[in-house]
């Protein structure tokens, strides 16, 4: 083996060196074309994709947080609104109730007053009628007294007839 390296011991196999160089260069080119190029491209793509995905995920998370906050706020707002609405409805109901009761009271009062007025009027009318009757009766009585001698019998007959007339009058009424 050693004599391979000693120049005097024969021709140095320099062709081997050249052969190794050439075959190595060809191997490198082939590997580059068939494996290194595609694989490094894929690896670059992957690292790009991973960075992109991470950025995208960050963005999406920020968006989601924003949305969640907005929803939370909207929810609280709508809750407050609901409470407002209920309160308002209660108030409305209260006022309406009061109004209805008041108006009912008013009407009842009115009806009662009218009834009282009617009754008073009827009484007054009755009194008036009675006065008129009494007047006419006293006129009659007076006329009959003037027309007849007043006797006890006559008087009792007169009183009876008078009472009869009264009752008749009353019945007629």
């Amino acid at each position: 083996m050693a004599n391979l390296l000693v120049l005097g011991a024969g021709k140095l196999a320099l062709g081997d060196m050249l052969f190794v160089l050439i075959s190595f260069i060809i191997l490198t080119l082939l590997v580059k074309k068939f494996a290194w190029g595609p694989v490094t491209k894929i690896m670059d793509d992957r690292s790009k994709k991973i960075t992109g995905d991470l950025d995208y995920a960050d963005q999406e998370r920020a968006k989601a947080e924003k949305l969640a906050n907005e929803r939370e706020q909207a929810l609280q707002k709508s809750r407050a609104e609901a409470v407002d609405i209920v309160n308002k409805a209660k108030e409305n109901g209260e006022t309406q109730k009061k109004g209805i009761v008041d108006s009912a009271n008013d009407q009842a009062e009115k009806v009662r007053q009218k009834a009282q007025e009617d009754a008073a009027k009827a009484k007054e009318d009755a009194m008036k009628d009675a006065q008129n009757d009494i007047a006419s009766i006293s006129l009659q009585i007076a006329s009959t007294v003037i027309g007849k001698e007043l006797k006890a019998d006559d008087q009792s007959a007169l009183i009876d007839s008078y009472i009869k007339e009264l009752t008749l009058d009353n019945e007629a009424k």
Partner: protein, 236 residues
Amino acid sequence: MDDKYRFIDFLGMRFNVANCLSTIIAAILVFILVFSLSRKLQLKPGKAQNLLEWMIDFTNGIVKSNVSDRPSNNFGLYGFVLFLFIFMSNQLGLIFQINVGGYAYLKSPTANPIVTMGLALMSILLAHYYGVKKFGFGGYLSNFTRPLPLLLPFNLIEEFTNYLTLSLRLYGNIFAGEVLLMLIAKVATSFGLVSFAFAIPVEMIWQGFSVFIGAIQAYVFTTLSMVYVSRKLERE
């Protein structure tokens, strides 16, 4: 180890048939390995693609930890192919040793100093080429006088020692491994069944260790190549 070799003289140069055959077979094996692992590439890698990407990441790690000042993509490819080729060459002789009629035809190509010198020459030339490319020829020459002009001879000698150590380290490790494999095989056949039974476990242990040595030497060769390249790319 003490095999005879067939030689072919072609264009005034001498070719060692065993070296050329082993080199080309190692190269073909590397290509088959890498080619078969790089089929059906996807963003979500399968098993084969994972293995390939792991190897690429491994050699890229070697390259990036040494060559720092530029996007070292081309060096990445060089380191990857260099590592795989040397690793495959180292293991080739552990698995196949073909001798026909006393002539060796297939063995580890890296168990021959000429082949390792060829590989080392390639690395050193690459380092110098990129040194000239970066600093210009004047700057490249003036780098030999840094950090002190006094150190010029040491720097010049260092280039040769770098080259020799790079090539002969690999050659020595692999050649010694093969010599020992051969010796153990000779022990196995020397005293019949007893030595055969004794030699088999020893051979197995040494083969396993040689696989380890082959991987380590491929790693060392790639790392040192990158160190030499990066040294030429920076100013002391």
